[in-house]
């Protein structure tokens, strides 16, 4: 059942679909030849990595490995998560998202990928946590307060940090204020819904 490497007799560990002149070409390569061809080195996440690279290549109509993507095209498509700053290209390289917000920020690109990775599944049907199950909005709020708390501590603004900590304690014990308090009047852009 094992395939041999296209270029030698070792077993193929990498499988990629590459588009050349409008045609899909299957490549099966061993570790060494995959490296020579510029395919990503196998890591703990080989399956999703492979999936990602292939998928993104197909979507982009790219025929070259990722390091040869035209810079203009790359930057145009390379959006960043507003919550943690992770760029989509970072995700493509490491197969890891940066925060909960990434799922929202990259939702469009992620859904087809999730469907491929999960036998078509793109909607959760399992366990729902009793406490945080309903409160996505609340989770987002907590995340943003935490982010500002971290910035406050870095800036050694301990007064603000203490205030933010109190707000967090209130929210995390389930007593979310009915109307969100205006926490820092100085930065209105943080009050977006």
């Amino acid at each position: 059942m094992k395939y041999k490497c296209d270029k030698c007799d070792r077993p193929a560990t990498h499988h990629a679909v590459v588009r050349v002149k409008g045609q899909n070409i299957q490549k099966r390569l061993c570790e060494q030849h995959a490296a020579e061809e510029g395919l990503p080195i196998k890591s703990a996440h080989a399956p999703i990595n492979e999936l990602l690279t292939n998928f993104i290549k197909m979507a982009d109509g790219q025929s070259q490995p990722s390091d040869k993507i035209k810079p203009a095209a790359a930057t145009r498509r390379d959006r960043a998560c507003p919550d943690c700053g992770l760029k989509f290209s970072d995700f493509r390289d490491k197969s890891l998202l940066g925060c909960s917000g990434c799922y929202k920020a990259f939702e469009k690109a992620l859904i087809p990928l999730l469907e491929r990775a999960h036998e078509g599944g793109a909607q959760h049907v399992g366990k729902v946590p009793r406490r945080s199950g309903g409160g996505e909005q609340r989770q987002l709020q907590i995340a943003r307060i935490r982010k500002r708390l971290d910035e406050a501590v870095t800036a050694e603004n301990y007064e603000l940090a203490a205030q933010l900590r109190d707000d967090l304690t209130g929210m995390e014990s389930g007593n979310a204020p009915a109307a969100p308090r205006q926490l820092d009047p100085g930065t209105p852009e943080d009050d977006r819904p």
Binding site: L97, G98, L114, H118, E119, R146, L168
Partner: protein, 353 residues
């Protein structure tokens, strides 16, 4: 309780008992969870990682998930201790290897029925282990642990995608169900590739237990689900309990019967050669030791040999690995010295001279 106490025995998952323990070594269920409000581990800064570690520690250690729980800070642990935990499957290689600046830990129940990794790829990786085929039991325990932790910890969750994880391959239920199987007859008869193919068609991963490549040392295979989105935990479990695992068990039994019917002498020869080598070798590598132990185990389950019990074989499975060997002998050794110590250990435990 210390790591030293843990390293002496074989722990829950190698007790060698439980349903179908002639083929199924152990069952394991894992949940991946992240705390709401913090970036995932790979994107969090040092302070945030410490805060996550501390929140998790206080919940895990005060909620009395078990009578006796050991907390191991891995950033301060010597490499040999981390390796020991990897060999016992209590932590991942990844967690053992991470750079020193990532604060990370594992909480281990004294009986090793659970291990909770903190700041691995996700903030929390909860695992429950059982010997033999006991997925239902493992699932009840992990669900209970999850409920207790969730009383105080806010888990990152969305209605659409479920439990949010750093890698989208785990998102949804965050559940990984794994069953470790001993399939020596399928290996000897060359049928193992069929099983692997069938499993892959069912979107399951088949990995060798030891080693990082696809080669299965000691004929031990780990079968696990890959789909976590669009399927409930119960459905994932049911696939394993009702379909996948019973089928593989039946294949292995058939292969053992076929060996007995058609190649009885050859089977005996394998088993007794393995026994003779384990009892007489003076220099023994890990790979060879694992393979010999596998054939002796097959001999026990096909009633060709009864000079040792499964529990002892399971202990040797662990003790013959590098970190355990060094822990037991109490000294650091070069690979060459380990091969000699390994052969000594086998002769000592199996009664050879």
């Amino acid at each position: 309780m210390t790591l030293r106490d843990i390293s002496r025995g074989a722990g829950e998952w190698l007790r060698g008992s439980g349903p179908h323990s002639d083929v199924v070594i152990s069952s394991r269920v894992r949940f991946a969870r992240n705390l709401a409000g913090f970036p995932f581990v790979n994107r969090a800064n040092r302070r945030q990682r410490y805060e996550v570690l501390e929140s998790c520690r206080s919940q895990i250690m005060t909620n009395r998930l078990a009578d006796n729980t050991l907390w191991v800070q891995l950033a301060d642990s010597p490499a040999i201790d981390r390796q020991l935990l990897v060999e016992r499957h209590l932590i991942s290689r990844d967690l053992a290897r991470r750079t020193a600046d990532i604060p990370r830990a594992v909480a281990i129940a004294a009986d090793e029925t659970f291990a909770i990794m903190v700041n691995e790829e996700d903030h929390l990786r909860i695992q429950v282990l059982r010997s033999g085929m006991q997925l239902g039991d493992a699932y009840s325990q992990i669900n209970r642990i999850d409920d207790i932790l969730e009383e105080k910890l806010d888990f990152a969750f969305s209605k659409r995608f479920g439990y949010l994880t750093a890698c989208p391959t785990n998102v949804g239920t965050g559940v990984r169900v794994s069953v470790m199987m001993h399939l020596p007859a399928l290996k000897l008869t060359g049928e193992i590739d069929k099983v692997k193919r069938a499993a892959r068609d069912m979107h399951l991963a088949v990995r060798g237990l030891f080693g990082e490549g696809s080669e299965a040392l000691g004929d031990l295979y780990q079968i696990s689900n890959q789909t976590t989105l669009g399927k409930t935990e119960k459905e994932t479990l049911a696939d394993f309990e009702a379909a996948v695992i019973p089928q593989i068990i039946a294949y292995e039994h058939q292969a053992r019967q076929a060996l007995l019917r058609q190649r009885e002498k050859q089977l005996d020869d394998r088993v007794w050669r393995a026994w003779a080598l384990l009892n007489n070798a003076r220099v023994l590598g890990t790979d060879e030791a694992l393979q010999l132990l596998s054939h002796v185990r097959l001999g026990i389950h096909t009633s060709r040999l009864d000079r040792v019990d499964i529990r002892t074989l399971n202990e040797l499975l662990l003790l013959c690995q590098p970190a355990h060997l060094q822990k037991v002998t109490g000294q650091e050794m070069t690979p060459a010295a380990r091969r000699i110590a390994r052969a000594d250990l086998m002769r000592q435990r199996l009664g050879g001279r």
